[in-house]
Symmetry: C2
Subunit: 329 residues, 2 copies
């Protein structure tokens, strides 16, 4: 058997993913993923998470033959502003929750100790622990999904900052008079490169007369176009979808150049749906980052896709839990 | 007597400043400042520094009655990209030097051990050690002078990054299609907020018809307008100079918001000539930073002017030297 395990919970703006991560190494097991119904409120989501985790534990223990004390606890990744010491979500624009004690709620439901962190910190930690940034001294993670997030690590530790909200890469300004962002500001990286922003830019172009298979894929209702649909069009060889994604890569390259100039990391790992759009994006990301960053800093930095598609958040949430068990790591 | 001392050397794009910094605390003494004649090349500048330091040492020792072994070494701050282990300046756009072994040259000339660092790191360290950021856990310094630089500190240590060039805040993009920067890119913070950029924006406005006492102060030759002249016009109550500086404060606020979002520091300290333009600038800097940064991160962060005008670089260069003496700090 491959226990002990720690449960990882990744609460995304689009999907909930849970799984059991073996403490000693190896793939997560009992993985479950379903769409996040955040509009039903946090209590309903917590119940759903409880059900998913209970199923996953039962499944894994029955297959692997372990006892329930082999499940040590739960690491939880959640988007937005997190109050770690109190296990609270302060605000999470992409879910709409405010001041919710998610850590306690899940701990009570599952009768297991919990640790809460920002979802992008979890994904970054996951890639550092078991993915594309293994063992690297200076790592930056940038997560491109419903929103754009980030995590900053030095020497195996996540930079938390004065109030626990370091790494909010998505809300750095790259265009001071630019697009309105969901946060209310103008020109944030997220307003260009998040899944929702990618879709919005595509729709604007189609309205302005661009031709694309997207119109067909969306059954003529272009308001239904999502980033996922654009990735689909890309697989079909659609030129317009390709343009939109190369533009996205440019925006990401600018955001990454800023991170390189400020932090001079060894590795920047890009995580999330956008990675599935194709490796070729990384050529454009690197070109743009090179143009806008210090030569020695750019040359010292690898910009790579994550190696844990779908599971970086789950693995990282569990990894952070493990790193906080006294005597571990 | 107040020795032992460490010499601090601050090589700015505009001025050379040297002084003796007492190891045990107290004001730097024997301060000397003169304009940097960087166009005469690094060898001439090193000779000049040697003369200034020798004078300062003689002056202080004769007044304080110490012996020359009370001068422990020299900390050097230099703009641009620095190779610390080799004591080399790799490139420094504002001085025009390339691959110059400045640390060895000064050590040979003065027969004292030397430590080299980036000038903005020195100023940041100076403010952390004996200025506006004393003892703070997460500190960011932003230096506004000939260029715009920065330094990032955690737990009393400067973040150096993978190749020693972390903290290059001036070359972060805030306007992706914006002004051309001296580094060759577009929309860097430095292209808006450096001394040269402040002057350029002022000149452009005057050419476009704005009225200001600046024209008179420059004897009708508006190409002679410098940031220093704009600060002078400001003291005379000139409305146009005020506009230019409030705009500058907005740009700085954007750059600082990006730092707050990424690093979530306790304190951002703004250092350099711009601080002399008046405390009122900080109102605008804070407003802009507040609009563009995460609420909890903004609330956790003080944005303050440096407390060591003219000497932050000298004090910090000496402080970094001291921090690297085994057994110190």
């Amino acid at each position: 058997m491959s226990g002990p395990w720690v449960v990882g919970v990744d609460i995304g703006g689009t999907n909930l993913v849970v799984g059991l991560v073996p403490v000693e190494g190896g793939e997560p097991c009992g993985l479950r993923s379903q769409s996040t119904q955040s509009e039903q409120g946090p209590d309903a989501t917590v119940k759903e998470i409880g059900r998913m985790v209970a199923d996953a534990i039962e499944d894994v223990l029955s297959k692997e033959g372990g006892a329930s004390d082999q499940v040590l606890g739960v690491g939880i990744g959640c988007p937005g502003s997190i109050d770690r010491p109190r296990g609270m979500v302060r605000t999470t624009p992409n879910l709409g929750w405010v001041d919710y004690p998610i850590s306690t709620q899940i701990a009570n439901l599952l009768q297991l100790p919990t640790v809460l962190d920002n979802d992008a910190n979890c994904a970054t930690y996951g890639e550092w622990w078991r993915g594309a940034g293994q063992g690297v001294e200076h790592l930056v993670g940038i997560t491109v999904g419903t929103g754009v997030g980030g995590g900053v690590m030095f020497d195996g530790r996540i930079l938390r900052g004065a109030s626990g909200s370091a790494g909010e890469v998505g809300h750095t300004t790259i265009d001071l008079n630019g697009r309105r962002c969901s946060c209310g500001n103008y020109g944030c990286l997220e307003a260009y490169a998040s899944g929702a922003s990618i879709a919005l830019r595509a729709v604007e172009g189609l309205r302005a007369g661009s031709q694309s298979v997207l119109t067909e894929l969306a059954d003529g209702n272009i308001n239904q176009i999502s980033a996922a649909l654009i990735y689909e069009a890309l697989q079909l060889g659609d030129e317009y979808a390709r343009e939109i994604m190369l533009e996205t890569a440019k925006f990401l390259g600018i955001g990454i150049a800023n991170l390189i100039n400020i932090l001079n990391p060894d590795v920047v790992v890009v995580v999330g749906g956008v990675v599935g759009a194709g490796d070729y994006l990384f050529g454009t990301i690197r070109e743009e980052a090179q143009e806008r960053s210090f030569k020695s800093a750019f040359e010292a930095c690898k910009i790579v896709p994550g190696q844990l598609p779908e599971t970086a958040g789950v693995i990282g949430a569990a990894g952070i839990f493990i790193s906080e068990i006294p005597g571990q790591l």
